[in-house]
Symmetry: C2
DNA sequence: AAAACATATGAGCAATTGTTCATATGATGA
DNA sequence: TCATCATATGAACAATTGCTCATATGTTTT
C-alpha cells in the first residue's frame, strides 16, 4: 500500500533523531522573522563591493567620492551599496556641507569579517 | 573647462582622505580572489533555509530526511542546500548504509551566526 | 537666483539564486 | 536480480540583485 498523504511531507522509514533532540531543536531554533533578518544581514556581506567598502572604512571614515575613487567604481554604484549598508546599520554617516562621511557602525562588522576570513583561510 | 577624461573615474574636487590612509588601505585590503571567496562564504549564510539547517545541526548530526521533516521541506530542497554547505566546508558528512549523516564542520559556523545574531538584536 | 559640486535614487537589464519536478545514483534486503 | 529506500542532481522558472544611466535632492558659492 504505502499510500502517501499528499499534503504531508515525505517521511523516512525510520526517524533517526531522538525525541529529545527534536524538542531541543524546537526550543533553540529562533523564530522565522529573526531567521529572515539574520539571512538579510549576511546577504549584505555576500558581495565583494560591499566588503571592500567595509574594509576601506576599517581605516578611516570616508566620503562617498573618496570610496568610489579608491575602489575604482562609480559614485552611483557606491552610493547604492552604502544605502544597503546603512539600512543594515553596518555603517553610519555624518554630513559636513556637501560631503557625507561614512564610518563603521559597530564592532560586529570587524568580528564577522574576521571570522569569515579565518574560515576561508583554512 | 573641467573637461572630464572619459576613461578615468569621476573625481571629487578635493580628496578628503590623507595620503597615508590610502596607502594603509592598499596594504590592508585583501586581494580580489580572497574577497570573492569571502563574499561566497557569506552568501551561504544569506538564506534562511541554510541557516535553519545549521541551527538544527547545532544539536546533533542528522540525516537528510530527518532535516527535511524537521524543517517541513522536501528532501530535494534540503539536499541541494546541503550541497552548498558541503562545498563551503561548513558541514561534513559520513555515510552509514543508505543514510548520510551531516554535521557541522567547524566552530566558525557557530561564531559567525552568533555575531550576526548579536548585531540584529541590538 | 543660478551654477557647481556631492550625494541619492528610480528604472531597466543581465546575471544569479532557491525551489520544484523528474530522474539518476547508491545501498540494502528479498 | 529486482524492488525499495535514501540521497543527489539536472533542467526550468520565478524572484532577487548589482550595476549603469539619467535625473533628482541638497549644499555651498558667486
Amino acid at each position: 500500500m504505502t499510500e502517501k498523504g499528499l499534503q504531508e511531507a515525505e517521511r523516512c522509514e525510520l526517524i533517526h533523531v531522538h525525541e529529545d533532540i527534536i524538542k531541543k531543536v524546537d526550543r533553540t531554533m529562533p523564530d522565522d522573522e529573526t531567521l529572515y533578518d539574520l539571512a538579510d544581514l549576511f546577504r549584505i556581506f555576500a558581495d565583494s563591493t560591499r566588503i571592500k567598502i567595509l574594509y576601506v572604512l576599517f581605516e578611516s571614515e570616508m566620503c562617498v567620492c573618496d570610496i568610489a575613487q579608491l575602489l575604482g567604481m562609480t559614485q552611483s554604484a557606491i552610493s547604492h551599496q552604502l544605502r544597503s549598508l546603512k539600512q543594515s546599520k553596518l555603517v553610519k554617516y555624518r554630513r559636513e556641507g556637501k560631503t557625507v562621511f561614512y564610518s563603521l557602525a559597530d564592532d560586529h562588522v570587524v568580528t564577522i569579517l574576521a571570522q569569515g576570513m579565518e574560515h576561508i583561510e583554512e
